[in-house]
């Protein structure tokens, strides 16, 4: 029934099956919206956050999601600026994923703050010394950029491109896309960084505090690096996932491997930097603030194993796999390496957000734990559902994978 909306020559599930796929996600979305509504209507007392855990699940997920969404800007950067033409195969998909991640993150932030109606104060009366200001400005701008980048993909829809004006606009916009790609790279560079800075500047939290260059603590650069390293891995992951679900070849394996390679190179650099940073922190930064580093790993489930997992298991191991040609040539290896890398960055963001608050800062305070309640989880699931919906619909009606047709034959 929606045939004339679907690109010529690609196979798509019947409308019925497609709807069947959407329904559960839509239901999840509805549930999450209700949960979020509760928090907005009754206040954040509805959540399990408290004065010790001022930041909870939401901030952690925002950080993770934005880090994973970095695939969008980085792929754009490689494609438009460094002219890596083979990435044309995934650029559209990357943009959609980026858009989903960022818009989702922004929505959750709106629920997370106590007074969303005053959100614009940050723009009107900004404190330019705050990392959070930097984050807010950059993310909002970049979300705008992503939206603009999304437009041409939208206009490539078979029906829409029939409209001459759209066709021309898409064409003209697309010709200028490298400008947006450049801007997006600039913005992402800063907000990925300032997300790291967010915690790195907290002198009152020696667990997170890091020395750095100028106004930026080392975490600023580590976050950028890790985001760029994992972005392509996440693209590999999502692409192969879509391929699994749709049972179609969408992207040439070479492209996947190329992304894996890029991921690997950056990852190894990151691991090295992270190791150096950790050593400096343990031996100088933390003790000089009066906190022997071992104190942080003494209490609760957060032992030194976290450090190992972060640096070796989820850092070094995937990096090495991705760097060896014949390993990454095999899909299972490539994918498991990519997923390891993604886990790594998620764990890193978890340590930064949750563990930082779990370890007591005053010597007589106890170690406390926190578990999100259904309102928080629900709100998060809503974002996931929203993402799946947007992506599914885009995948059905928009040319996300130009190589699909070639591979279909």
């Amino acid at each position: 029934m929606d045939k004339e909306l679907i690109i010529r020559g690609v196979r798509r599930a019947s409308m019925g099956r497609f709807l069947l796929w959407l329904v559960p996600w839509a239901a999840l979305l509805a549930f999450g919206v209700y949960a979020a509504g509760l928090c907005l209507y009754k206040g954040l007392g509805e959540t399990n956050m408290d004065n010790r855990f001022a930041f909870g699940l939401w901030i952690f997920l925002d950080l993770s999601v934005i880090a994973l969404g970095a695939g969008a800007f980085f792929t754009g950067f490689l494609f438009y600026i460094l002219k890596k033409k083979e990435l044309k195969a995934v650029i559209n998909s990357a943009v959609v994923i980026g858009f989903v991640c960022y818009s989702g993150a922004v929505v959750v932030l709106a629920v997370d703050v106590g007074q969303p109606l005053r959100a614009w104060f940050t723009f009107w009366h900004p404190n330019v010394h705050s990392m959070l200001t930097e984050v807010t400005f950059c993310i909002t701008c970049y979300l705008g950029v992503l939206a603009v980048e999304y437009v041409p993909i939208l206009l490539k829809n078979r029906k829409l491109r029939e409209v001459p004006r759209f066709l021309v606009f898409e064409w003209e916009l697309h010709r200028l896309m490298y400008v947006l790609a450049a801007v997006g790279t600039f913005l992402s560079f800063f907000h990925q960084g300032s997300l790291g800075g967010l915690y790195g500047v907290l002198q009152g939290r020696p667990f997170a505090f890091r020395e750095g260059f100028a106004l930026w603590p080392s975490t600023f650069f580590l976050f950028i690096l890790s985001a760029m390293a994992v972005g392509p891995s996440f693209m590999v992951l999502t692409t192969s996932l879509v391929q699994k679900i749709t049972r179609k070849a969408l992207v040439k394996p070479e492209v996947m491997q190329e992304m894996g390679r890029i991921s690997g190179i950056l990852l190894i650099v990151y691991v090295l930097a992270k190791t150096v940073d950790t050593l400096v922190w343990i031996n100088s930064t933390s003790p000089s603030l009066g906190f022997p580093a071992h104190r942080f790993y003494a209490s609760g489930p957060f032992g030194t194993w976290i450090l190992f997992a972060e640096i070796v298991l989820f850092g070094l191991v995937p990096a090495l796999i991705l760097l060896s040609r014949d390993r990454r040539a095999r899909m299972p290896w490539l994918i498991s390496a990519a997923s390891l890398a993604c886990c790594g960055i998620v764990l890193n963001r978890f340590v930064m957000t949750i563990q930082t608050q779990a370890v007591p800062s005053l010597p007589f305070l106890p170690f406390v734990t926190y578990t999100p309640n259904w309102q928080e989880v629900g709100t998060f699931l809503a974002v996931v559902a929203y993402g799946v919906l947007v992506y599914s619909i885009s995948f059905r009606y928009l040319p996300l994978f130009p190589q699909e047709k070639d591979l279909a034959r």
Partner: protein
């Protein structure tokens, strides 16, 4: 303007005198219109601008001894963790008093400052403030109640400073009479464990006490420059309130 209109207010708390009765907490709540806790609230979701913690020397019975430590906003002076992080300037250090002010009307409720504060002295309004029917009649008009979804904290009973200034102004003076400005917790403490005053005035009692040998700051090594000083003659109290750093070549740990 006259020199005396500028001050650096601070407190000195004698841990040995504190009986842990909680008068300061109640007085603070009454003075600053802090609502009673709703049903679900715990000691992690409550609002207590000043909070008395129980510490002990960790020895087994009968050697065990406990003490009580009132912790409030330390009004950091040098590096103020919460000020630099607030995205919309809702937190700032008042140049004329050194008080770290939190403006609920400007606050967005992002809670970044709470993550930044090492003293756990900032509190978020997780719920709408609700008083039992009729009790809003007893609210203090010199302090405006905070709405849900914003962060708040001790500001040395700034409402009282306002009143003191108004009183001075009515007499045509800019400098206030120190006796007119005493925070509620200081006034309420039956044990007189808390002294308050201008640290810049070297002869003031608080300045003298802050210079005593037994005086120390919480988490001194963070270099936040707190204006709250703690005093105790009991060595174990120092041990319980300070983190001893092993194997570091930095300056020796002292309170």
């Amino acid at each position: 303007m006259a020199a005396k209109t500028k001050a650096r207010y601070g407190m000195s708390i004698d841990v040995d005198r504190c009986t842990g009765c909680g008068a300061c907490m109640v007085a603070c709540a009454v003075e600053n219109n802090i609502p009673p806790a709703p049903e679900g609230a715990t000691d992690r979701k409550g609002i207590t601008w000043i909070r008395v913690y129980k510490i002990d020397n960790g020895l087994p019975f009968p050697q065990n001894r406990s003490a009580w430590v009132p912790v409030l906003c330390q009004q950091c002076g040098e590096h103020t963790p919460c000020v630099s992080v607030c995205p919309q300037n809702a937190v700032e250090v008042d140049k004329t008093t050194g008080v770290v002010g939190q403006i609920p009307e400007r606050c967005l409720g992002c809670r970044y400052c709470m993550a930044a504060c090492p003293y756990q002295a900032r509190y978020f309004n997780w719920w709408d403030p609700v008083w039992p029917a009729g009790m809003e009649k007893t609210l203090n008009p010199t302090v405006s109640p905070r709405m849900r979804g914003v962060v708040e904290k001790c500001n040395f009973c700034h409402g009282r400073l306002h009143e003191a200034r108004a009183k001075a102004a009515a007499a045509g003076r800019r400098e206030i009479d120190p006796a007119d400005y005493v925070p509620a917790c200081v006034e309420a403490c039956p044990a007189q464990a808390i002294t308050f005053g201008d640290l810049d005035d070297r002869n003031s009692q608080v300045a003298r006490e802050s210079r005593e040998g037994s005086a120390f700051h919480l988490l001194e090594r963070l270099h936040t420059g707190p204006k709250i000083t703690y005093r105790s003659g009991r060595p174990w109290v120092h041990d319980a309130l300070e983190i001893k750093v092993a194997n570091n070549k930095k300056e020796p740990v002292r309170g």
